[in-house]
Symmetry: C2
Subunit: 270 residues, 2 copies
């Protein structure tokens, strides 16, 4: 029978998982998908993921592919796999793609969203999906700082030094297309240096180094609380030193929103 | 030392609990609060709750009181108790109240919100706090039906027959002040009978029978999916029979938003 490559768009709550990648003795998103696809197709099958998100990081649109001889129509896999997956992982859509389409090698635009709740008291209904911050935040300063990161830069300062690419001597030059900071602020509490409320930081780019989004957010939080002036971000970038930037913001606030593949590269072939 | 009565406003994620009320061998909100207050004040203390929410139901503003000889200022209890509570329960605020204030006996306006996600595929990041519905919903029809429930009615059809009040021969007459249905609908999928998207049903009233909000929502869902015409709700109410109404909507979609006590009755004394 002919082999086909199936592409899955996947949403998940990362709270209960060790991350995307298989790890012995731990529950992973990859492991759950391998199990569900193997059970559905009746053959031991392994998926190849686009983004190997860390433990606790969420997704609304991660992508994976697998090869199969199954006769199930491409778009029917979503429904059939959802019957075999735990409720914190959902296949949003599925379709057949080109046999040479590789979700990590094909060009795409990646969109991440980081959610921050600044308040005096945590909101228990948001705790799993937002980072909680006790300090009021100045969104205007954060926007000013974020502008300095948009474009092509060497992001060494914003990468975990354990990044495989950097350990192998690869380039830390990346392009960020946009950083949008949205702000639902509390009616109460106009502060000298900021407001309480919910902030979402949406970052779009062609590629990100290990922990790059979380380190950028950790740095923007230092700007938002007044610890760094916005212009200090340029000095951090120029330092090309992880020690110069802010801390890595916690995983729970991060969500991989979408991976938009260039249609001509096979991602949308069906 | 003088005894004072402290009033707590409490938010919680009900997912991991058997409900508000103490139950042997199970984790309850009441049990966690008793433990935290006793540990803080150094005396075995029991709280009295306003609304004994069911297993899986959430709250943004439930209320409880306790009596103490502790010298801690009323508004400081929130912070001190939060240090002793699990992260899915938060004291939003605390203050001293009148010694004769009883959170179940004092008059108040109760506001509940029920969240429904209608979509082809569940959203794993909303699953704990919304009821998922595979069918597109017609919000206009739901609004029309909801109007028929506002005002003073006998709500026997919308009460769990195990309701203590009804078993004791009490009245099922209650007043609903308002039902607001808000609608964030999906860009995709205009349907003949409705749309996909997120619907929130906000119900305000002076008092509710056991499961009343969830049975009202279960009934409105039958209207939203086209199973009942909106006008059928009047017939359901007139039947005074639980069998006439729709099913009890699942606990996870329900959140007790606030209890607003009349200031003159002692709720806001401090």
């Amino acid at each position: 029978m002919a082999v086909r490559r199936i592409m899955l768009t996947i949403a998940y709550d990362g709270t209960a998982y060790c991350g995307w990648q298989l790890q012995p003795g731990a529950r992973s998103i990859e492991g759950e998908l391998n199990r569900a696809v193997s059970s559905l197709t009746g053959r031991e099958t392994r998926v190849t993921g686009a983004s190997r998100t860390d433990s606790g990081v969420h997704a609304m649109g991660n992508v994976a592919v697998f090869d199969t001889e199954s006769m199930i129509p491409g778009e029917k896999f979503a429904f059939a796999l959802n019957q075999r997956l735990p409720e914190d992982i959902r296949i949003v859509s599925s379709r057949e793609t080109a046999l040479d389409f590789h979700p990590r090698k094909a060009d795409c635009i990646k969109t991440y969203r980081y959610s921050i709740m600044s308040a005096r008291i945590e909101d228990p209904l948001r705790r799993l999906y937002t980072h909680f911050c006790y300090y009021p935040l100045n969104a205007e300063d954060m926007r000013e700082a974020a502008k300095l990161l948009v474009g092509v830069h060497d992001f060494t300062s914003y990468a975990n030094p354990d990044s495989q690419v950097l350990l192998e001597g690869g380039s830390a030059v990346r392009e960020i297309y946009s950083i949008d900071i949205e702000w639902e602020h509390d009616r109460e509490s106009p502060k000298k240096r900021g407001y309480y409320g919910l902030i979402t930081v949406t970052i779009r780019g062609s590629g990100f180094l290990y922990n790059m989004v979380r380190i950028i957010v950790g740095t923007l939080l230092r700007v938002g609380t007044g610890l760094y002036p916005p212009s200090h971000v340029s000095e951090i970038t120029e330092a090309k030193d992880r020690q110069a930037a802010g801390p890595t913001a916690p995983a729970r606030g991060l969500c991989l929103m979408s991976l938009d593949y260039d249609d001509t590269k096979g991602g949308n072939a069906s």
